[in-house]
Subunit: 211 residues, 2 copies
DNA sequence: CGTTATCTTGAAAAATCTCAAGGCGTGTGG
DNA sequence: CCACACGCCTTGAGATTTTTCAAGATAACG
């Protein structure tokens, strides 16, 4: 299924690389050498402010492509969140190993995602952002029950919150029967999609998940 | 100077359109017909949430291009903030009137801007966002003294704040000697670039601009 | 098993928003 | 030309949301 959009006849054998949890794949400012597709594991891309604050711009799950940009240098760092395997990809114009992807299409999708996130961060309340995020992960993983590769702090730094707020809200969601947290807090099961959607879109709901 | 990057030999005569203040140029979901370059005036692009909340994704000032996207429909609305004139632009692949621009390059620049904004909204305090915004406008207009085409509410909806917060902060900046507000609140003069930079980057400063 | 990282929880503080009122500028009709 | 209305901006006070700080609980790791 997900082979559909991949170009065949790569110019060279694909290069597969593996990273252990926490490993840096590339850093902001590094020379761009090519991109990757996630084969296993999960990656976060982040920017660091001068004083150490971190913004997680996005998470790259299985089959997602990251690290391909127009320009000479990476504009964000990429870090493996768990043990991760990636395969190199290239653009049609940049000769390179592995499969080819359409850079314009990729940039467009990323722009779309960035604008979605901007709207979330600018206009939504903490619980709306979190509900929206959980639904997004579920959609991307094609399941309402999934193992979350990211830690609470990653989620916080993605949603513009603190780790304490994420923890409180997530446990509040569980108390309200919206989700179930299992498998030593790593696995999540979304129990009430309709109400999570209401929450995500800021529709009033008679639920109390805070305090 | 700003002719340098424009392709010549357009396929047809350029089309110039004008809009009065507040006019809708196109709406989210509209069929994409082509893009525009701002000749005079200023444009904001925004997204509306279901309940009326609005996120201003960006401002398009003189010479900026907007409205060109890959895909069939616009992902945001564009509205003239003041009396505005635009000239149509096209991509190389999409035959159309007016000059040609590189869509990939454009999308890349927009992605960059969107990620910058995301980082601001996610990780910065209100006064840091505003200082950063003022410096950005000054940089784009090539002057520390400029007429702001956007209203307070536009700034608020761009920076994820309320109009009251923007007003308080801006007047606080003036009280602190960082800026001067003139010409019935429309014109702004940045007086202390170094300190505004410090503010924008979250470096501690012995200034009190709040309260 | 002890040690460290991650997560949770509470209470107080801080940032920002909301609500309410008033001020200023501009345009319009009398 | 004045008076009024309307849009936009400012300001204050209190409410709300989210953070901060501080502790403890749970899980991961050697």
């Amino acid at each position: 299924m997900y082979l559909r959009n991949r170009a065949r006849a790569p110019s060279a054998a694909p290069i597969i690389r593996t990273f252990r949890a926490g490993a840096q794949i590339f850093s902001e400012g590094d020379e761009i050498t090519g991109g990757y597709r996630v084969l296993a594991g999960a990656v976060r891309s982040c920017r660091y402010l001068g004083d150490g604050r971190r913004q997680v711009l996005g998470f790259h799950l299985i089959d997602d492509i990251f690290g391909l940009e127009l320009g000479a240098k990476h504009s964000a760092s990429a870090e493996a969140m768990v043990a991760t395997a990636v395969v190199s990809v290239s653009t049609r114009s940049t000769a390179g190993p592995g499969e080819y992807v359409d850079l314009l299409e990729l940039a467009t999708k990323q722009l779309q995602q960035a604008q979605d996130l901007t709207t979330d961060l600018g206009k939504k309340l903490a619980h709306e952002r979190l509900a929206n995020f959980l639904l997004d992960v579920a959609r991307r993983l094609q399941s309402t029950s999934f193992r979350m590769p990211m830690r609470r702090l990653d989620i916080a730094d993605h949603l513009g919150l603190t780790i304490e707020s994420v923890s409180r809200l997530l446990n509040g969601f569980e108390r309200a029967g919206l989700v179930r947290i299992i498998d030593r807090k790593k696995r999540l099961e979304l129990l009430d999609l309709p109400r999570l959607c209401d929450l995500a879109d800021g529709r009033p709901t008679a639920l109390r998940f805070d305090s």
